[in-house]
């Protein structure tokens, strides 16, 4: 909520006065690296714009920064390889809601989390129907995820779940949710449990702009605020839900305004710049761990592919252009896609790291080649795994036992 002078009037400024200590990683990058002139609508709540969020990414050790770059590449090349499989391999049965274009969001948020250790100490991530990026950023085993998406018995979830239900609690990835609505509320329940048992864990939920309209949105934010829950709601506003622009379902330009109305600290960030996402996430995580309650982060971002699968995409090329044959009455303009691709999260991350002297172009390119090779191997392993045994479908209904087959009378 902003007043007439554009000032953020509701955000409690816990972050104010954060020391912006000197560092070899300066603020120069802003002008230098912001890339093509895509107009990303940003309110005054934008991270960095009012000094309320410190530039925490500058304090990260080099290896952590390189890890972030590698994670972005892992997501990107998983996507591209899978898209190529879908387009070129008639044997391939998997599908995806592609995340390409949004990599910096999952990466920046998960870099601020505790991703390994005992289950009662790691942070938990709830994902959406577009889970592959969140899963990789949280640290799932990529080959097993690849196997799962192709319905293999040794896949991450034994072939029961496939893309929209991948889950690996061992790394705190509670998992995908094929429905729009429930996940944020459930995530707030995990946050409730943390607070009840005195744990400093945080729960993070990733949800699209489409989730704003679900009635669950209100429940989640209202209870998170009332009970001061360590919940971080990451709204990935990629402008569309399925084929409708978010203005069809939301009266706000910044969805963060809706959260701010509850008195929840709410920020918009440039979702294409992993360091800015990290800054906001770090601040949110610190607040939550300290008992300061929930945070809402709206990342302005874009997806390069269509809503589902690879229609409009070409093998070997990034992104999908032209109209999605599944979209009947509303379309997103091809020029919008191309304009957003000018501010690619991979390029932005690489340029920052090169600018900061952490990598040179050659090393950056070498890392990309390593990642490509790893992903290639992941698909080779995944797609050579055994298929499921039909009778196993009767398992895992309850913790123990199997249910009775009824399909034969």
């Amino acid at each position: 909520m902003t007043d007439s002078s554009g000032q953020d009037v509701t955000h409690p400024r816990e972050g104010e006065g954060h020391p912006l200590s000197a560092s070899r990683r300066g603020f120069l990058k802003f002008a230098a690296l912001s890339g093509a002139a895509v107009s990303v609508s940003m309110s005054a709540r934008r991270a960095m714009a009012d000094g309320a969020i410190g530039y925490h990414a500058m304090d990260l050790p080099d290896d952590k920064l390189v890890d972030m770059y590698r994670t972005i590449l892992n997501i990107r090349w998983h996507e591209r390889t899978q898209a190529d499989q879908m387009l070129g391999n008639p044997e391939y049965r998997g599908y995806n809601h592609f995340y390409a274009g949004q990599e910096a969001v999952a990466t920046g948020v998960c870099a601020a989390l505790r991703n390994s250790g005992p289950f009662d100490q790691i942070d938990l991530v709830y994902s959406s129907h577009r889970p592959s990026g969140h899963a990789i950023a949280k640290g799932v085993d990529i080959p097993k995820m690849v196997a799962e998406m192709d319905f293999r018995a040794t896949g991450m979830n034994g072939g029961y779940g496939a893309e929209m239900h991948i889950s690996d609690p061992a790394v705190g990835f509670i998992g995908a949710d094929g429905m729009i609505g429930p996940a944020p509320v459930i995530a707030s329940g995990s946050a409730f449990a943390f607070r009840a048992r005195g744990s400093d864990q945080v729960a993070v939920v990733f949800a699209g702009d489409g989730n704003y309209a679900a009635p669950h949105f209100h429940s989640t934010l209202n209870n998170a605020k009332l009970l001061d829950l360590p919940l971080i709601y990451v709204c990935e506003n990629n402008l569309y839900h399925q084929y409708a622009h978010y203005s069809y379902s939301c009266p706000h330009t910044d969805i963060a305004d809706a959260a701010a109305a509850y008195g929840i600290p709410a920020r918009t960030v440039d979702g294409q710049d992993v360091t800015q996402v990290y800054n906001a996430a770090k601040e949110a995580v610190d607040r939550a761990r300290a008992g300061g309650g929930p945070t809402f982060i709206e990342a302005k971002t874009y997806r390069y592919y269509n809503h589902w699968g690879a229609p409009g995409a070409k093998q070997g090329e990034l992104g999908a252009f032209g109209y999605d044959p599944l979209a009947i009455t509303s379309f997103r303009p091809e020029r919008e896609v191309r304009a957003w691709m000018q501010r690619d999260p991979v390029d932005i991350a690489r340029n920052i790291l090169v600018d900061w002297g952490i990598l040179d172009e050659a090393r950056a390119a070498a890392i990309e080649e390593e990642v490509k090779a790893e992903i290639k191997a992941a698909f080779e392993w995944g797609l050579s795994q055994p298929l499921c045994t039909p009778e196993d479908g009767l398992k895992h209904v309850f913790a123990e036992g199997t249910v009775v087959p009824r399909q034969f009378g």
């Binding site: 072939g159 929209m164 069809y248 087959p405 399909q407």
Partner: protein, 323 residues
């Protein structure tokens, strides 16, 4: 009379009612009310009637379901198309408000509304949440709501006309797996009654009862069994609430063998009700159910296709029951 697809037949029914009644509204979410059919004009309700009457908003199936209810209470006939992903989200308002309101108001509330609720789950690859086809049982337990489930384009149109004209709220289950069916469907409006099952095949050895997405497999199995010399009577329920007990009992009184087939979970599947009604009314008959096991459908095609009632599974159960 033209060969028409399921959805074309349905939207033709809606279009004609909307042309006749300027108050009739349609709310959708993902599936725009658009259909085409070879040799026929494209139907696009949104462009024809404008966004005041035909509208989509956000992902909020409870609003959609509640909004048409409110429209109906205000005297405007109204329908909404709920996608399968949100199939049970409007459950509470339909069960606890719409189903009870006529009774609770002593007959004063009139609710001429239709919820078209998509049922899917017949395609392998979509696990659990996206293979939700248990809606039939949930909705048919509700008193005060007419729950129907067509299985042919002809019935789909005729039941839609009847549903839109009914003063009672109607849950119109749409088994999306049947979208590829085509058949001769009259161009004009006609009604298929909201209280009659259809006998699809007559025979005296065995009654098979199914509905919606279960029908194609049942009809195929019946052909196989007929060829083997079995006298199979096939009943398509069509109407889950109020179920047409008379047609069921008459048939089972004759055949003394009842097999029910459901593409939904075994426990409390519609077939359980069919068997219970017949068992209460026919002595000395034998009964069997074929259904999906009481397990969420797994994504893997191998597991899923084995669990789904198949033509062979149905035929096998029939032979075991009669033999």
């Amino acid at each position: 009379m033209t060969e028409k697809s399921w959805m074309y037949a349905v939207l033709e029914a809606v279009q004609a009612e909307m042309r006749a009644d300027p108050a009739l509204t349609w709310i959708f979410e993902l599936t725009p009310p658009v259909a085409s059919n070879p040799g026929m004009p494209v139907i696009n309700l949104e462009t024809e009637f404008g966004r005041k009457r035909v509208v989509n908003t956000g992902i909020d199936e409870n609003w959609m379901a509640s909004a048409v209810l409110g429209a109906g209470l205000a005297g405007s006939r109204s329908a909404t198309y709920i996608p399968y992903q949100g199939a049970l989200i409007p459950f509470e308002v339909i069960q606890n408000v719409a189903g009870k309101l006529r009774s609770m108001t002593g007959g004063k509330a009139s609710m001429p509304v239709v919820w078209i609720i998509e049922m899917t789950g017949q395609t392998p690859g979509f696990a659990g949440q996206h293979s939700c086809y248990e809606e039939d049982s949930y909705y048919m337990h509700i008193p005060g709501v007419r729950t129907i489930i067509p299985s042919t384009p002809y019935d789909a149109k005729g039941l839609m006309v009847a549903a839109l004209r009914s003063p009672d709220p109607v849950v119109y289950l749409y088994p999306a797996g049947l979208r590829t069916l085509t058949e001769e469907v009259p161009d004009e409006q006609y009604e298929v009654p909201l209280d009659k099952a259809a006998v699809r095949l007559e025979g005296s050895d065995l009654t098979i009862v199914s509905s919606g997405g279960g029908m194609p497999g049942v009809l195929e199995a019946a052909e196989v069994l007929k060829a083997e010399g079995m006298g199979v009577e096939v009943i398509d329920l069509r109407i889950l609430k109020e179920m047409d007990t008379e047609t069921l009992v008459t048939s089972v009184a004759k055949t003394k063998r009842l097999l029910t087939v459901d593409q939904s979970y075994y426990t409390l599947c519609p077939g359980a009700e069919v068997i219970a009604r017949c068992a209460e009314n026919v002595d000395g008959a034998r009964f069997k159910r074929v259904a999906f096991p009481d397990a969420p459908p797994p994504a893997s095609p191998e597991m899923f296709l084995w669990m789904r009632p198949s033509v062979e599974g149905i035929a096998g159960a029939a032979r075991a029951l009669v033999g």
